[in-house]
């Protein structure tokens, strides 16, 4: 046991020098909420929806590992181009809810969407006091579309 605490304690004092130096330097603290942290463009903050582009193909809801996307749609008959022509049907989106209390932020839905309807946005200030309020509908998801940034330039 006697070799445990050894003379002459130089290591201890060097450590004290480091803490003193840290004390006199400015602390690297971001004073949230007065100053905001700007996340990088690719940050996975929230998923936003472009309702015009969605064709209710249900791929995102199927591929989600948590099954947190709830989609309901119906088919509407379109007015034919020529009178007596074939009636085409178009899918209309009734309900597109993402339950952010289940969402894993994995991004599979964004990746599989074949119609460029889902986008990642670095927005992170959407917390709610009640967990049930974390189910966001397509209006709210469409609002976040404005916060989607340009993809960053690539490394040469």
């Amino acid at each position: 046991m006697s070799k445990d605490i050894s003379f002459p304690f130089l290591g201890l004092f060097k450590g004290m020098g480091l803490t003193f130096k840290t004390m006199i330097k400015k602390a690297p603290v971001t004073m949230y909420p007065q100053e905001q942290e700007i996340p990088v463009p690719r940050a996975r903050g929230v998923i936003s929806l472009d309702t015009e582009a969605c064709t209710v193909c249900m791929l995102c809801a199927r591929e989600c590992p948590d099954w947190c996307i709830y989609i309901e749609g119906h088919k509407e008959a379109q007015v034919p181009d020529k009178p007596g022509g074939r009636v085409k049907t178009k899918s209309e989106l009734d309900r597109f809810d993402i339950d952010y209390s289940l969402c894993m932020y994995c991004g599979i839905c964004v990746e599989v969407c074949p119609f460029d309807a889902l986008f990642w946005s670095p927005e992170y200030e959407y917390s709610e006091p009640k967990i049930a309020d974390l189910l966001h509908n397509k209006e709210k998801l469409g609002e976040w579309l404005e916060t989607v940034p340009e993809p960053p330039a690539l490394e040469s």
Partner: protein, 394 residues
């Protein structure tokens, strides 16, 4: 009866009276020093521990069962969360196993990006150890200093993948090539963003600096040495017997590093040393991890120069069906050897996924190493083994 026998009998009688039964102490699941919800049922005699039984399972999330009903792409997203400190390193052996079954190989650039991200996560995981281990021993400042530096690494990872802890960046056949599946998003590549190399080199300089700071604050500190030198010695043969791996094994004298043994990523094109020490006590395990941070910094500096241009993923069908077969693939996680045993019956989902997690095997040595130790040493030894409960319980 001879006088000798009488003396012996009286001694026996006295010692039976003075014998106190061992107290059973429950170092319960909610505890600041166990890394998560680990329960240790310890029989203590005063301050000495006579027997320890770890009780695990408080964090069982059922990964292996979940994997039976998920496709390979979905499993990749789940699997990040097993050892949540080293997120990317959990995906790598899984994807490599699937690629082996499908008999495809990822392009060069994808392999290099995997290497870079693996090493970044190795630094991140060892930094978490650096911050939490002195905290358990009582020093409160390394925690804040080290986590401040770790932010730079996490920012780098976020810049590439979008997530700080759970990157979800591996795909079968490479890494994530573009933003999405639609015509516009397919044109936006997920390659390394501009300024990545410069930021990485700056971050590596900071890592060198924080390693020197930790040396000053922790390594040279005589009190830390008094708490960790010759505490919890695990000899090399016992380590192999109990299935230890990673820095724990290398600190006991066995210089076994899967990065050199199995070339699962282009580690043969970078120069680095396998750090090993002969002591096997807590101080050696700590030093091995500290030196491994320096080696990872060396690897990253070389990788940035070597990384070639090229595609990020080979062409794979959208609905992935893996041929029939079984494979065991393993990789060097920051905490040790991490492996997956994948049994595929030819469908979209694996028939069985068995996860060989590092911390589960590292934990099996606890009953042996904690015998006859003092309770404060229990904290020091458990901290030095560096296990994460998510890894133990899956």
């Amino acid at each position: 009866m001879t006088s000798r026998e009488m003396m012996h009998r009286s001694e026996v009688a006295v010692s039976v009276e003075l014998e106190t039964p061992d107290m059973t102490l429950n170092i319960g699941p909610q505890h600041p020093s166990t890394h998560g919800v680990l329960r240790l049922v310890a029989k203590v005699d005063g301050e000495r521990i006579t027997e320890v039984e770890p009780v695990i399972g408080y964090m069982h999330r059922g990964y292996e069962k979940l994997s039976e009903v998920r496709t390979y792409a979905q499993i990749t997203t789940l699997v990040n969360r097993i050892d949540w400190v080293s997120g990317f390193a959990n995906e790598v052996p899984f994807i490599l196993g699937v690629e082996k079954l499908m008999d495809i190989e990822a392009p060069e650039r994808a392999q290099w990006i995997r290497l870079i991200l693996s090493e970044l996560f190795r630094i991140s995981s060892h930094l978490v150890f650096m911050s939490s281990y002195p905290l358990e021993l009582g020093a409160t400042t390394p925690l804040m200093h080290v986590l401040r530096e770790r932010e730079y690494i996490l920012e780098l990872i976020e810049g590439v993948t979008g997530g700080r802890f759970h990157p979800n960046f591996n795909r079968v056949g490479g890494v994530k090539p573009n933003y999405g599946g639609g015509s516009q998003t397919k044109k936006q590549s997920m390659d390394l963003p501009a300024g990545f190399f410069k930021s990485t080199l700056e971050a590596m300089d900071r890592m060198d600096q924080i390693c020197d700071d930790i040396d000053t604050l922790v390594t040279g500190n005589e009190l830390i040495k008094a708490r960790t030198v010759d505490v919890g010695i695990i000899p090399g043969d016992k380590a192999i017997e109990y299935g230890l791996s990673g820095p724990n094994l290398r600190a006991s004298g066995v210089a076994y590093d899967l990065r050199k043994v199995e070339n699962y990523l282009p580690y043969d094109q970078v120069e680095f040393d396998v750090i090993s020490r002969t002591g096997g006590d807590c101080y050696d395990r700590y030093l091995v991890r500290l030196d491994e941070i320096r080696e990872s910094v060396k690897i990253l500096r070389q990788a940035i120069d070597i990384i070639p241009a090229g595609p990020l993923q080979v062409k794979v069908p959208r609905i992935l069906k893996v041929p029939v077969g079984q494979v065991y693939s393993r990789a060097e996680n920051p905490k040790g050897e991490f492996g997956y045993y994948i049994v595929s019956e030819g469908g979209k989902m694996p028939y069985r996924l068995k996860i060989r997690s590092t911390s589960f095997s590292n934990l099996t040595i606890l009953p042996w190493v904690l015998k006859d130790q003092l309770i404060p040493d229990l904290v020091a030894i458990m901290g030095s083994l560096d296990f994460v409960l998510g890894d133990v319980d899956r």
